[in-house]
Symmetry: C2
Subunit: 189 residues, 2 copies
DNA sequence: CTCCAATCTTGTCATCGGAAAGATTGGAGG
DNA sequence: CCTCCAATCTTTCCGATGACAAGATTGGAG
């Protein structure tokens, strides 16, 4: 059993500590408003310690995005029974796990060909495509339905996060998202 | 009449040159993948010259966002006759003026309380709200319709720009956007 | 023609990302 | 129990950056 004390040469779980610090920092000032050195300071290690685990800044953000896509896929899969709730779950993830979301859909920040990241991303995409198919009025419109639902959920989440939506921001975003989705895809579900 | 030569102490139109350089740089590597000093080099001036016109990096991005919202508002207003085309115009702007779009909806990058920026942003919002009202099935659903249409257009544009949409990316995004919008809001317009 | 204010340059500082080289230590294998 | 290796972390260094201060240049109003 490791003791967690301040003088230990080995941190014990630096990788996790740095990712957590990154999530906090992203929450506070976005995916670009902080430095690797600051995260190292927060974790109580030297400024070069993170490099061992992540290589560089893009490596760290790759780890963040990969973790994000896994939580994302889990969230969507749990909601997959009720098709309309998949869209709500999409919004719930974006708002409830904002720092992940803000990295995931900014591919210039990380390495998109990371294997574990790709796996989780495809898992999430599969739920979206399946839901789109089940919601489609005719087999020929599966693709259109998927893109429409995806765009709606993604757009609502992005606009809400950026604060672009009007006074709306003060109310419950998840409930509002549910209203919007049912408004467009029918209320009979 | 000023001569534009390489040895002139005064650039002549540095403000515009720096903004143009910023738009190019953002196109190449996103809103964070460049430095003020690099823009100064591209414009052929010293590294401190931009500061006189914009103060700091946030000041430059404020100018970019303000200009973007003006072009944006113009684009939407021109399409305002056909309600469904407002959504298409939204997507056309995002893809045709990508560097503007990538800054505009990232408020942590600039000063959101800039007066000229606020004016243009409200002008754009007005077109969206008006279109939502005209598309709404009943007066009580004006707000929901506006948010739905806005989310759909914004989400489609964002996903297309981030490359998240499937093989779709190879086809004509504007036509695809039109299909998606008509799919959800009816084809009778 | 003069002179001021806008514009641009030079110089400086703390900080950053990244790389190199060395120190420490947990734990596998003898 | 001991040794030693590989993973982990530190120290040191470099070029580049954003921001600021002080000084140089010049267009154009009067």
């Amino acid at each position: 059993m490791r003791q967690i004390n301040q003088t230990a040469y080995h941190h014990g779980n630096l990788r996790r500590a740095i990712i957590d610090a990154a999530l906090e920092a992203i929450t506070e000032s976005g995916p670009a408003g902080w430095s690797l050195r600051e995260l190292a300071r927060r974790a109580g290690v030297s400024h070069a310690a993170p490099a061992h685990h992540f290589g560089d800044k893009a490596g760290l953000l790759t780890a963040v995005a990969a973790e994000g896509f896994e939580v994302f896929a889990d969230t969507l899969e749990r909601a997959a029974d009720d098709v309309l709730e998949v869209g709500v779950a999409y919004v719930r993830f974006a708002i409830g796990h904002r720092p992940y979301f803000e990295v995931m859909f900014r591919p210039e920040l990380y390495r998109v060909d990371d294997p574990s990241l790709e796996t989780a991303r495809e898992r999430a995409a599969h739920v979206l495509v399946t839901s789109g198919g089940r919601l489609s009025p005719s087999p020929g419109q599966d693709r259109l339905t998927t893109i429409a639902g995806w765009s709606l959920a993604h757009g609502f989440a992005s606009l809400w996060l950026s604060g672009a939506l009007p006074e709306t921001a003060h109310s419950d975003p998840e409930a509002l998202a549910r209203s919007v989705i049912r408004f467009l895809f029918g209320t009979t579900h």
